[in-house]
Amino acid sequence: MKRGAPLARLALVLALGLAGCGGEADSAVDHAATSQKPAYGDTFIEALTGNISGLIPNIVGDGASHTVAAHMYNGLITHDRDISVVPDLAESWILARDCRDLTFRLRNNVRWHDGRPFTADDVVFTYRLMTHPKTPSPYKDDFAAVESVHAVDPYTVRVRYREPYAKALTIWGQSMLPRHLLEPYVAEGRLREAPQNFTAPVGTGPYRFREIQSGQKIVLVANPDYYAGAPYISRIVFRIIPSQATIFLELKAKGIDTATLTALQYKRQTDYPAFAKAYNKFRYPASIYSYLGLNLKDPRFADKRVRQAFAHAINKGDLIDGVRLGLARPATGPYKPGTWVYNPNVRTYGYDPARARALLAEAGWKTINSDGLLVKNGQAFTFELLTSQGSDEGRKVAEIVQANLREIGIGVEIRVLEWAAFLKEHIKKRRFEAVAMAWSIGLDPDQFGIWHSSKTGPDEFNFVSYSNPEVDELLDRGRMTCLQDERKRAYDRLQEILAEDQPIIFLYFRDALPVVASRVRGILPGPIGIDYNFTEWFVPKQLQLYTAG
């Protein structure tokens, strides 16, 4: 009974969430299917909160740059609505059963924006660029398992891996770059200084670069020679607006066509007819989860029962209502509900302060001092919870966790820190007791870097110092095969152990909350989000707003 109740509630929340999502999706489909025909033209205006730090996506890490670059480049493969791998610049491939030999057949009608044909040479070049010792890329590790890449003929590429590699196929979603323009820069280790990184990017994608005004806007125009045919919307303008409040006002004044809302805006500020008429709201779980990290080197937190007690003591429902106004789903582990790898049959921790107290008592925290705090060996149970100033959400999570834990006799001091200092002084040096943070997860379920006991170096990400031999083995197994069934088995078990161990207290997956102008049709939200089929978005002729350019 005790374990059944929270599960049932979880299922209900999920069902509601999906229903809401589906409903909105349907309305968009209706517009598209019945009332309007796809048409070319119009301008789409998008707001970015961050500045563009570079337009060669292979070497930049920030979200804004990737958002823009996504329209200008292609990989060999991409992901569809259901996050399945589908062809992009490669029209087909053969992956050997040992997961070590991969052969791509490339499309022969792809051209770079400057008119040169895209060939196998460019693929080999992109691989060399990624692995070149002087290329500073955050995605370098992805290609470490590659033994060789060579062009069999202009439209065939063969890849050989050193060992069976789970991401053998998915790493080729990396943007392909033009050899004829970038080769000298790579050799000199000056790729960042190449004009293609800022003023003249050249890719194969559906949109071409038109202009950039640093700090103000970037303009892309439809590529008439795109291999899959020109996209419907003929121009995209990205405006850089750092303030979320300003973006919202621009939305209200119809100055921009899309933006990501905050929970408060989604829930409290957009439910009036004029807004509903002008914009479609979307909601789907984002690939990022919030958690409470505990330093497992601390003897108090090394005890599993204490962590489980925390999981019971934190009211995730309240947390989601308080921090996200209900716009999030409880996390049971590090994978997003609704994806193939997600395992719903793991131990869950309903809000149960009595159970939490019992677990703490088992761990030796029995007596209560005059301040109402639990005491063991004369020491009161208090700790410092760090969070960074960048996220309002981290601070709110910390405040609610603090109130929840106080109820079971644990004192929490919150400290908000500047992000860079927080990373360098506290995370890297392991100088923390607890942190309220969030992990963003990739499309591939490999999380070796976070949970493996070997990944505890200063620049590495297992900073809570989790170590479990069975987990290590499962992580190895999961990344050493490319067969989904086998991976699923390994990761199912991994999720069971993580749920039992609670190496960090998994809190929630927030929802992404984009809005798009209602004149734009063809949007089909899916588990991956809404942006994946932008080339099929269109504005019916009579609704088009912008004609110039």
Binding site: Q244, L264, Q269, D321, G322, Q389, I400, A403, V416, A421
Partner: protein, 271 residues
Amino acid sequence: MGGIVVGALVLLAISAPVIAPWDPNRPDIRNILDAPSNAHPLGTDQLGRDVLSRMLYGARVSLAVGFVSVGIASLIGVLVGSLAGYNGGLTDGAIMRLVDLMLVFPRFFLLLAVLAFLRPSIWTIMAVIGLTGWMGVARLVRAEFLTLKEREFVIWSQAVGASGFRIVWRHILPNAMAPVLVAMTLGIPAAILTESGLSFLGLGVQPPHATWGNILNEGKDAIEIGWWLSVYPGLAILLTVLSYNLLGEGIRDALDPRLRQSIGRFVSRVR
């Protein structure tokens, strides 16, 4: 008048635990961003906490930070400024170059460095704001000294052999205080707002504890649906500045009968 308001504010702050209707730090998820009502006269914030109670508790920090840090800055500024302005020459040159250095020093990094050694507390924040904010006052005081020390009454005092300290204390300083008063008045709201910025760097008052500055900051994201989060702390800060301004002018006028007289004469003449 100004004194009464300042006194009342201080009294409210001190008696916060007695008069605050709610626990200022307890989140209440069911009542997020409620408009002002009987239960919550000033509304609730983004975690459903009572804004009135948070304002009352916040007053303790904000008033203390406002007055103490401005006090520290003014004291240092006046000392340094008088020293440079009265002595002139090399002393002046050396001190003023130090001021130049302090002015351009990247304050953000200095704060981060401080952060590594000090625990966050209200004392840290008052010290930090005070110790990094005195350069303007110093330059103002020095400029006044440069002109005042050439005036007849100073030169006369020197001629009769009055000690330097006595001249500065009795003759120059009182006449140089006008811009300092303004700097202090303007410094108070600035310090109250700076506090919330520094707290975000981990230096000052940490959540969930309220200050006027951080209530205001939280109100930023909810400006259209939670005006009370910005308006009330804003009004509190305004009230503090205005009453401090009145207090300052009152004290100055009271201490300087000549001013009253001449202004009275002057005003009647204009009319």
